[in-house]
Symmetry: C2
Subunit: 189 residues, 2 copies
DNA sequence: AAAGTCTATATCGGGCCAATATATATCGGC
DNA sequence: GCCGATATATATTGGCCCGATATAGACTTT
């Protein structure tokens, strides 16, 4: 599955411009599942347009630059369904935040605390948006996914809140032995 | 942060071959935070070796192909710390599983159930490994991160288990109206 | 009136990664 | 004792992806 399928999926919920699709995939609800930026979306739309899976209607606007509104065609709908049918690839995640915490012994304690606090705030913010979202009329799948997001974010925020101080305390205690601390095992597997 | 920093990080916990680094980043504990395959790791190691951040010792083995064991140099250690100091980029996630569920109305119910069951099994498997891991001696950061992983996976698995049947039931109920169902709002933001 | 944000489209260089090639060893099952 | 599968080990490539950047008028804030 690639960004082309992502665009088809967004367009399934209604016509949109490239700009709006990007918003959905990098700020909106979908950004929690599958992110994408301009550099992926615009080329994808051009290709989809070329193969007839979407149509593009240029709309002149007073003042602002022209809008290009994309719509899913019947062929696009079929292509979306076909893509969704094949077994989903394994999740791809890349969390610099978590990776950095692995090495929290190498960072100043204040920095560690600051990062955790920021992350908690980020989760709380996401939770608020998701809860607001649940009030509206949604497809059953979207409802399920949103509920899942809430459950996971809640657990993450709670863990960070309840274990933050313990981590900092532990780091403080072993602070002075950091210099000669030998490498440890138990990360390789 | 890129795969070069990832390699430096893994090597901080002890010398390793490219093969072992890949194992840690695509099967081991680190794979839950930051994945990488051969195509990223081998070029990264070559570059790190060229700039003196790691050293490479070739070890002949009876039978098996030669091993190239990489070690972090002092310069590499400093480079790692410097990289970790800069604020972590936003998490990047790409979950085809979750994205697919958004459109569960377009999939056969049996398929939806199967995917959820597989995902639950995957979480449970990950949980078991992480819990085993916690028994061993670990750096405080690694312990914190592992605990976080357990909390999140547990919440995810529980949500899927308790809401699986509700989703399927809801899908079955609206099954016959799928054909003429209009596009819905509330995904754009 | 300057500075910043929002709508809107588009490109590029470099990074990443799945798939693939190569070679040998070991282990379980028949 | 042989076969297929799995594990050890390194390396390349084509294509996808994406952060940064350019452009540009309108609206908002200071």
């Amino acid at each position: 599955m690639d960004v082309k399928t992502l665009c088809l999926g967004v367009l399934f919920f209604g016509d949109a411009t490239g700009y709006e699709i990007r918003k959905a995939c990098s700020e909106g609800m979908i950004s929690h599942l599958y992110e994408a930026g301009y550099g992926s979306i615009y080329p994808a739309l051009a290709q989809l347009s070329g193969t007839g899976l979407v149509t593009c209607t240029e709309m002149a606007q007073d003042g602002r630059p022209d809008k290009k509104v994309y719509s899913l065609t019947e062929a696009g709908r079929q292509a979306l369904i076909e893509s969704l049918r094949e077994p989903p690839a394994h999740d791809r995640i890349r969390s610099e935040f978590m990776f950095g915490l692995l090495f929290s012994q190498l960072l100043p304690n204040a920095e560690v605390g600051k990062r955790i606090d920021e992350r908690i705030a980020w989760y709380r913010d996401g939770l608020e948006r998701m809860r607001t979202c649940l009030g509206h009329d949604m497809a059953p799948g979207a409802q399920f996914v949103t509920g899942y997001g809430i459950a996971v974010y809640e657990a993450a925020a709670n863990y960070l809140e309840t274990h933050r101080d313990t981590l900092i305390r532990t780091l403080s205690q072993s602070e002075d032995t950091v210099e000669e601390q030998p490498a440890r095992e138990a990360v390789g597997r």
